[in-house]
Amino acid sequence: MARQVTAQPGGGRRPVLAPSPGTAEHATRTYILHRLGIAVLTLLGMSIVIFVLLRFAPGNIVDILFSTGGYVSESDKAAIMKELGIDRPIWVQYVDWLREIVTGDLGKSYRYDLPAWQVIKPLIPVTVELAVLSTLIAIALGVPTGVISAIKQDSMLDYVLRVISLAGLSMPSFWLGMVIILGLVAWVGWIPPVTLVLASEDFKIHAVQFLLPAFAVGYRSSALIMRITRSAMLEVLREDYVRTAWAKGQTGRVVIWRHALKNAILPVVTVIGIEFAFLIGGLVVTETVFNLPGVARFLVQAIIWRDYPIVQNLVMFTAIVVILSNLLVDMMYGWLDPRVKYAD
């Protein structure tokens, strides 16, 4: 008997609950290869969308450059467009970009006149670290409170936790971030450094610099995780096998964490995966408020400047993270629930 797993983000073929035949390993490998194949096609489609949409935006880098000069000279404009290669037909520019990606050359930033990779490279660790920390905080806050809220359903504690989670969902993380910054400066006259401090330079300062924005972002995500955890747990706690575990005299900790949560965790993992993927490109305002030099903040500036090579490559990076995190979540289903097998 095979049952379709619901609430999962991945595209293409999906993991199904199936008896475990001897070919499980082969099926898993085939499944991953299949998903990666679809990912390549998705990325190709994405590349076309990004490329075309960017060209639909009014103006280009040369218009912006002239804007900083406060005048426009049509002849000089044509010369710069030629120099940057944006006077060529769009399809030629697109093919060139694809060729550059395949050869590992991401092109040159129009704005900075530097290889795009050199500009993008330092941004990635900042955003990834912030996204990972935010996700960890969200899990640490969301899962236990969701479990407690479900166990103590309709108690005062449940109400308090639900209010806290609703507050988290209602407060935009950038607003919370700004409140943290303004609160710190008003009450203690201190804020974290406004330029990036590497962990190798000063670990404590680095940690504070990242933990504050990670908390602002993680709190919102934790509220969502808490609510999903709570509803999944409530469903599972009413299952026969949980009642059986209680009847067999197992301790509360074993029943809750080993039997109930393990069976309730799949939708929670799905939400965590979606949230993480969202954070990679969605930290714009948080990075701006905390002045962290990450991908999202830089992407906005690159869009304003119509710095096509930077925008295209950053969006592709975000797309790759989303696809990989979805795949990772799907693979985690099998690890979290041994009944899940990957059908070829």
Binding site: P58, S67, G70, V72, L114, G189, V194
Partner: protein
């Protein structure tokens, strides 16, 4: 002591206190060392290539890297011919009845890469800007070519002498050469390289530019002014978010604000939170001006232009949009911030500067004469950039026009489209901000009001005004020139050429331990940081 003597003594004490408070802090012995953390509102748009930009976002962090031939005295707030001092030029001399300007250059000056500085570098730089036929370099963008339109040739007879040969006398040339927009570039380094780093002769050398994050400059140990700079370095921290940048200032992460960023409202809030922060109010030489398209109906009709100008209450604009943080003035920065502004009584007699109700009545009458009224209301589109300070300006104007029966709609355009739209004159009315590199009539009039200038967005072109501009430009007698400049301003306002709304004020904030950082009445001209030191 008699009561009158007491009053006299108290008055004297007050006057002295005001003088002392108004004088920059130079009484203490400067200390060397420390790094100044300066606010930077956005990443450098054109890197350090000052000659290719018209924004303070590049000029401010690049200024410490370079030197001019001459500069405005960094310790004096008001800028004029009297405050111009030598920098790379030890002295200068006007010759042949102001037709030749001869600079005698400092000896022993070196570029940051160790190459010697000479007159060749000066000739290279200014030939490149004026696009001389035999220029050795070329700029990608060249916003200030018009400043040097009167330069016929530049001669470098020996390594330490440069002669600017002019087509006609132009005393203002010295003021434009003193602007922050006029550094000398090295002839041996391609101008394009300045977009990624700077090689200058200035008090600070380029260390690092972390894109989108900060720019680090370090002390130039070989600087030609002995004992300068005092600072070990400067870090320009890029912070885009307004709340964060002022929180950083209050928390001491930043020592000074960015020129042109401080509004009255923010200054009041910061002062309330951190009373010890020093706030100085100066002019920006940035004017909010109304672009009235002179080349197309309805505003090719002077009556319609004048009616628009009359309809707008400048004083109400300053109160509503700037919360009092701006000064009303015509096309030159008003006194006491500028030296060429109209006298108060003359200003009040101009259209749009008198009593609001009277001016609005005149506006309605003029619109009626132009064929517009309640039965046939004038319907226009007001264009502006989709940036809050521009939109606030445009919204105010739309409301004012509504009061005289004009139905205006707001069209917000992206930054990328704004200057193409203005240059091509594809608009009817526009809300615009214009920064002027030097508080000088030549820098302003030729750029913004002269026939054919690429930055004359309104297309205003008047033969008589052009003659007046040329005449004032070559007038050597300062008093006569002042009168001519006043006459031009009146004429421009009466023609509704490009009505000025107000001149922005800047509320410059700095911690008291920052010494000798003296903001000028022009945001472009005080970024050198040579005299700045930290009293920590």
């Amino acid at each position: 002591m008699s009561p009158s003597r007491v009053v006299a003594a108290v008055s004297l004490a007050v006057v002295l206190a005001v003088i002392v408070a108004g004088t920059p802090a130079i009484s203490q012995t400067p200390k060397s060392g420390g790094v100044l953390n300066a606010m930077q509102r956005e990443d450098l748009p054109q890197g350090f290539s000052i000659h290719e930009t018209a924004t303070i976002s590049s000029v401010f962090p690049a200024a410490p890297c370079f030197n001019n031939l001459v500069m405005y005295d960094p310790m004096k707030r008001v800028e004029s011919l009297d405050t111009v001092i030598g920098e790379l030029a030890e002295k200068w001399s006007w010759q042949d009845n102001y037709r030749n300007l001869v600079f005698f250059l400092r000896k022993g000056v070196k570029w940051h890469d160790g190459q010697p500085f000479s007159s060749k570098d000066v000739k290279y730089t200014f030939d490149m800007i004026r696009e001389a036929k035999d220029a050795q370099g070329k700029l990608r963008l060249n916003p200030r070519k018009d400043w040097y339109a009167n330069v016929d040739t530049i001669e470098a007879p020996d390594p330490h002498t440069v002669i600017f040969h002019l087509k006609r006398p132009q005393p203002s040339l010295l003021l434009m050469l003193a602007s922050g927009y006029s550094p000398v570039y090295p002839a041996h380094v391609a101008a394009a390289e300045m977009r990624t780093r700077c090689v200058g002769t200035g008090p600070f050398k380029f260390k690092e530019w972390k894109r989108g994050e900060y720019v680090d400059l370090v002390k130039n140990p070989d600087y030609f002014v002995k004992g300068r700079p005092y600072l070990d370095g400067i870090r320009y921290v890029v912070i885009v978010e307004r709340g964060t940048k002022y929180a950083a200032l209050q928390a001491g992460r930043l020592d000074i604000t960015f020129p042109g960023e401080g509004t009255k409202t923010i200054a009041d809030q910061v002062k309330a939170a951190v009373p010890q922060i020093k706030i100085e109010t100066v002019g920006q030489t940035v004017v909010d001006n109304l672009l009235v398209n002179n080349t197309k109906p309805p505003f090719n009709n002077v009556k319609a232009r004048l009616a628009v100008s009359l309809a707008i209450d400048r004083r109400a604009y300053v109160k509503a949009v700037h919360q009092g943080g701006a000064a009303v003035g015509a096309s030159m920065q008003p006194k006491p911030y500028g030296v060429w502004g109209l006298m108060e009584k003359d200003l009040n007699a101009l259209p749009g500067y008198g009593k609001a109700a009277d001016d609005k009545a005149k506006a309605r009458k003029l619109f009626a004469e132009a064929g517009y009224g309640p039965q046939n209301p004038l319907k226009i589109e007001m264009a502006t950039r989709n940036i809050p300070i521009y939109v606030d300006f445009a919204s105010f104007v739309i409301n004012e026009l509504k009061q005289v029966g004009v139905e205006a709609t707001l069209k917000q355009v992206d930054t990328a489209q704004w200057h193409p739209l203005a240059t091509r004159k594809e608009y009817q009315l526009g809300a615009n901000l214009t920064g002027i590199g030097a508080d000088d009539p030549d820098a302003n009039f030729y750029e913004n009001f002269a026939c054919g200038s690429p930055r004359n967005y309104t297309g205003y072109c008047d033969e008589q005004v052009m003659k007046m501009i040329d005449q004032q430009s070559q007038e050597i007698d300062a008093k006569k020139r002042q009168q001519m400049v006043w006459d031009i301003q009146k004429k421009l306002e009466e023609d509704g050429a490009r009505p000025s709304m107000s001149w922005r004020l800047d509320y410059v904030m700095q911690w008291p331990y920052v010494r000798n950082y003296v903001p000028h009445n022009n945001i472009y001209n005080y970024g050198r940081m040579q005299e700045v030191w930290l009293d920590k």
